[in-house]
Subunit: 417 residues, 2 copies
């Protein structure tokens, strides 16, 4: 039943499409489907026993506090722990620089609320995280897309777009979603210099930074920024809003993320969070603190790296074995995703339909483009964190059948070139 | 430190003031202060042992599900339970009519996101819940205020404001925050008829409805609406969006609220929730379900009614005993608050300052008016759920000193009349 007023009053949703990923996830929840579609952590890595102990401790020792209203800023010991942890990478952040959010997705929403007025432009990578587009669309964002390659966003193409005056740049520097690519060191430095020169802030979204399976950790933009700006007090964060989350390292079911930013930005965000959901669950914050403290995370993340690194290797090996030579893919040094590129003329949607018939799923690439043209239909995203190695191999085998099947349709064209 | 861009990009926060209540709460957290300021449940009523058992059960039996991503709509068994519970009051709602939110505050935010474009008017009671004003302000809402008395919003004054074309009416029919008043039966019927006649939806915010200490439960607007509209299928909800929460009956630290609305409204809200925080914590939803099912809530709410009813009585008795005859107050049949009216010429802010010196706190009334004039400074809100009865008596005694002290300054004026 549709009521008269709901259609009349629905203008605000005009920019809002249901997330392709989430709708697909419903389609692919049958047990016979091998799904590379979601961005789900492997449930086997959840430290359930430690959660048991943490819940028991929090409720028995501080139950009245855990179940009561809390501060919009977040649970103070958790803010302090995150500030300490962030400082390890060279950011001198205090708890006043940290806001706890209901997952990173809420951080993106608060950024949209604070910064985007209808018609404002946001500079994004092409491709970029579709959840960010979803969050920003509601506030009437428009986009200027800058292409990326295996070394991340192509900073040599940034000046023109920056001259067009975007409100901010939205960048995923580590093991990007969906690309799986990492912004190289030289481009990081160029990016923060450009941000400073044009006075355009950077939103640095870093959910996967700790999940590196090879090579060295690269300096976050927020750290380079501080160094380059050489602010008087030397302890402040300047031009970068940094986001991260417990979703990929602890458990997404908690809905716990955080923003690290200059204290005056945090204080505005706190006001918006008050109006948005008052505060994030006191209980989950206290439990997460109890689980994460005592350096538990260091060992835990090592374990996750081992498990996901194996799965990445399994997927890369299977792609090498089963996929036709016309198809290429990225080789991520970390994170959860890799990005497949089909030959010109192929359409990821058709491959998707063929794949579903083979009981294997992925996310078609066009969802990840702010301004999508024909190019966007040549890609798709594969997740390698959720499915165990032996199923990864079987899934890629099935997927290769779907790809080859579609490839045959356009093969004369491809082979001609 | 203020960065150049944060001041440049902050226009969106122009309507956003930090909640007076939350700032005051910080001021009044010293142990020597008796605080009637917050809207906090008594921590003694939290069923901590049952939470212990629920956490242990959820984690041991379904830990992998509890810690994983979930559906934006909410945990299905919880939606079904809420639909069943809602149906007890005569609303034939199914789970497709229920969206789980991160507290009722997020429900208000989603309503603002869906319905309010800058400059749109919202019809509110005077006074009204300040958290709703905070949520709607961000979207550029303007307000048309309709006065209320002991029987709730004065429906005889509604036609003019409705002709001015507000987007929706925001109404708290039961034990209103801050007034403590309840919308009487006749006005409920008039309200839904007017809503139908003008095609203006009602947002019915009902966090306290179950906390009634005397008299009979009154029919919710959402039920009257269904009956009056006599829709063909007879099972749908029409003109009313109904909100409630576990915050006052189970624990606010969970951040669990819900929206009951027509399925097409819910489906739009789900899209907005996806972009806003993806979904509410799977873990807290499963724990709340485990705590609340098996009709535990019925007995639990009976206990809360007994405890809070006693505290209300203690506050009413103390006000009678200590307060001067020039001051009046409401006598709520339920909920957490009562509303004090000072004689003309008195200023609640000055009383507040005097009260703080006596180590007792409340929320000045002007925060609760969308359009506040001199009238708004003659009131303040007292909470009676948080402080135990013996402290209520002592707090009211101190408060009376502050009131009398300020009253003396204007006494000649008052006594003259």
């Amino acid at each position: 039943m549709s009521t008269a007023w709901t259609s009349r009053y629905a203008q605000r949703t005009k920019n809002v499409k249901s997330s392709a990923i989430r709708e697909l996830l419903k389609l692919t929840q049958q047990p016979e489907v091998i799904s590379f579609a979601g961005g789900l952590p492997a449930p086997d890595v959840f430290p359930i026993q430690r959660f048991q102990d943490a819940c028991a401790k929090v409720l028995s020792m501080r139950g009245k506090e855990a179940l009561q209203y809390g501060a919009s800023e977040g649970y103070q010991p958790l803010r302090e722990m995150i500030a300490r942890h962030t400082s390890r990478y060279g950011i001198k952040a205090g708890p006043e620089n940290v806001l706890i959010t209901s997952g990173s997705q809420q951080a993106l929403d608060l950024i949209g609320k604070l910064l985007i007025n209808p018609g404002d432009r946001v500079l994004v990578e092409a491709p970029t995280y579709l959840g960010a587009l979803q969050a920003f669309n509601v506030y009437g964002a428009e986009y200027v897309s800058v292409p990326s390659d295996d070394d991340g966003i192509q900073t040599e193409h940034l000046e023109g777009p920056l001259r067009s005056g975007p409100k901010f740049m939205y960048i995923l520097p580590n093991f990007q979603n969906p690309g799986g690519t990492t912004l190289c060191e030289g481009r990081r430095e160029e990016l923060v210099l450009l941000a400073d020169r044009f006075g355009i802030p950077i939103v640095e979204d870093d959910p996967y930074g700790q999940l590196r399976y090879e090579g060295e950790h690269l300096t976050p933009l927020v750290v380079l920024d501080r160094v380059n700006l050489r602010r008087d007090n030397g302890y402040s964060i300047g031009n970068v809003i940094y986001l991260s989350t417990f979703s990929k390292t602890l458990a997404p079911g908690l809905r716990l993320g955080w923003i690290v930013a200059p204290a005056d930005v945090i204080s505005k965000m706190v006001q918006l969070k008050q109006g948005g959901d008052l505060h994030t669950s006191t209980f989950t914050q206290m439990v997460a603190y109890e689980v994460a403290h005592d350096n538990f995370m260091d060992e835990h993340i090592k374990m996750i790296r081992r498990v996901y690194g194996e799965r990445r290797d399994a997927m890369l090996a299977a792609l090498e074995e089963y996929f036709p030579p016309e198809v290429s893919w990225t080789r991520p040094a970390g994170g959860l995703f890799l990005w497949v590129t089909l030959p010109e003329g192929m359409d990821c949607q058709k491959v998707f339909e063929a794949a579903i018939k083979q009981n294997v799923a992925f996310v078609p690439g066009d969802s990840f483009y702010a301004n999508n043209g024909a190019e966007s239909r040549r890609h798709f995203r594969l997740n390698f964190s959720y499915v165990p190695p032996e199923q990864i191999r079987e899934g890629v085998r099935r997927l290769a059948l779907a790809v080859k099947n579609q490839l045959e349709g356009i093969l004369p064209t491809v082979r001609q070139r």
